[in-house]
């Protein structure tokens, strides 16, 4: 059974729109199945998609959005978990090197930029899905959104150099607590997403650093060892993924 291109495009856009509005997945799936069934039967009777959803896809999407339940887990679990995970990566590097100063600007700015990025991204998806935009405008939006987070994170790095904000210095004992907390976050993330990769990646990144911290060789060799481990690991990851792809085919 095949739908016309217009109907399929509308269904795809509706799905993106509802996804970017954090709607409950099973409720969305149920509704999509029902709409697909309807569109199919309507098309067989010679009706087009406008007949079903009215003149404005946007108005119809909003109508649906109002009735489908929002998935509270997104802001309560997903975002905090990703945020903590990203934070754990950022902090581990410093903690292992025994750098114990944190500027307020970075502590507040980084999570803020992260949340703003999610809001912008979802806003963009909703906008693109609900409005008939030209290819040019769509591509432009994607490019801008691709650069925006990097620009904002770099902005914080640069601002941190020029603007003095209060520093938070933690004790060596606290530093160890931070490392343990980061490890727990990596493990919790792995358990939640059911993917070992969120433990393996930090392990490959940080365990050699910790070991090398206690070995007396010069900085240059340390850097070479760490880099070669990361490159080797990335390569084997790529090969592994390619094999999985081949198997699927």
């Amino acid at each position: 059974m095949t739908l016309s291109k217009e109907s399929q495009t509308f269904l795809d856009n509706l799905r993106i729109y509802l996804f970017a509005s954090n709607k409950k997945e099973d409720e969305v799936n149920e509704l999509m199945e029902e709409l697909e069934d309807h569109l199919y039967e309507a098309e067989q009777n010679g009706k087009n998609v406008e007949h079903i959803i009215g003149k404005s896809p946007k108005a119809y999407m909003k109508e649906i959005e109002a009735e489908v339940e929002t998935d509270g887990r997104f802001w309560l679990i997903f975002v905090p978990l990703i945020l903590l995970n990203a934070f754990a990566y950022l902090i581990m590097n410093k903690a292992i090197a025994d750098e114990r100063d944190y500027s307020m600007l970075a502590l507040i700015g980084n999570p803020l930029v992260f949340i703003v990025t999610i809001l912008l991204l979802f806003g963009m998806y909703r906008f693109i899905a609900a409005n008939k935009l030209s290819k040019k405008v769509t591509v432009m939006l994607y490019i801008v959104m691709g650069f925006a987070p990097t620009a904002m994170f770099t902005g914080i790095l640069v601002a941190d150099l020029f603007i003095e904000t209060p520093m938070l210095t933690i004790s060596p004992a606290m530093n160890i607590a931070v490392i343990i907390a980061a490890c727990i976050i990596f493990i919790a993330a792995a358990l939640y997403w059911k993917a070992w990769i969120s433990v393996i990646v930090p392990a490959v990144l940080y365990i050699p650093q910790v070991i090398l911290h206690f070995i007396n060789i010069n900085e240059q060799s340390k850097l070479i060892i760490i880099l070669s481990i990361i490159i080797l690991f990335s390569l084997s990851l790529i090969i592994w993924q390619l094999r999985l792809l081949k198997k699927d085919n």
């Binding site: 059974m1 409720e27 149920e30 509704l31 199945e33 029902e34 709409l35 697909e36 069934d37 309807h38 039967e41 309507a42 009706k47 406008e50 007949h51 079903i52 959803i53 009215g54 119809y60 109508e63 649906i64 109002a66 009735e67 489908v68």
Partner: protein, 107 residues
């Protein structure tokens, strides 16, 4: 209240009446509506309404696989509350339609 909201209230009452006749699914409801001349709303606008009616406990749904294959089809059935709401709607509608008729006739 905008005219579309008024229309939605009426549409909900009509859907209750159609589902009360027998267990049915979306497209069939739309055809039924059209056969009575109810074509003021786009077909798709029944789905947000049906979703709300399900949450309010007025209808229950079952998914059935079609003998011809393809995706499952969702069938709607009225609950006891749905029947009660339908009776309520009939009462409200009788009052509205008579009074509007009277006004328009200039009695």
């Amino acid at each position: 209240m905008s005219s579309s909201q008024l229309l939605k209230g009426i549409l909900e009452g009509c859907l209750l009446a159609i589902i009360a006749e027998r267990e049915t699914y979306g497209y069939e409801m739309v055809e039924k509506l059209a056969s009575y001349g109810f074509t003021m709303v786009s077909e798709g606008s029944i789905y947000p309404l049906l979703l709300r009616m399900k949450k309010e406990g007025l209808v229950t749904t079952t998914s059935k696989t079609l003998p011809s294959g393809g995706p499952k089809r969702k069938y709607y059935k009225l609950t006891a509350e749905g029947h009660a709401e339908l009776e309520d709607f009939k009462g409200r509608w009788a009052v509205i339609s008579t009074s509007v008729d009277n006004i328009l006739k200039g009695d």
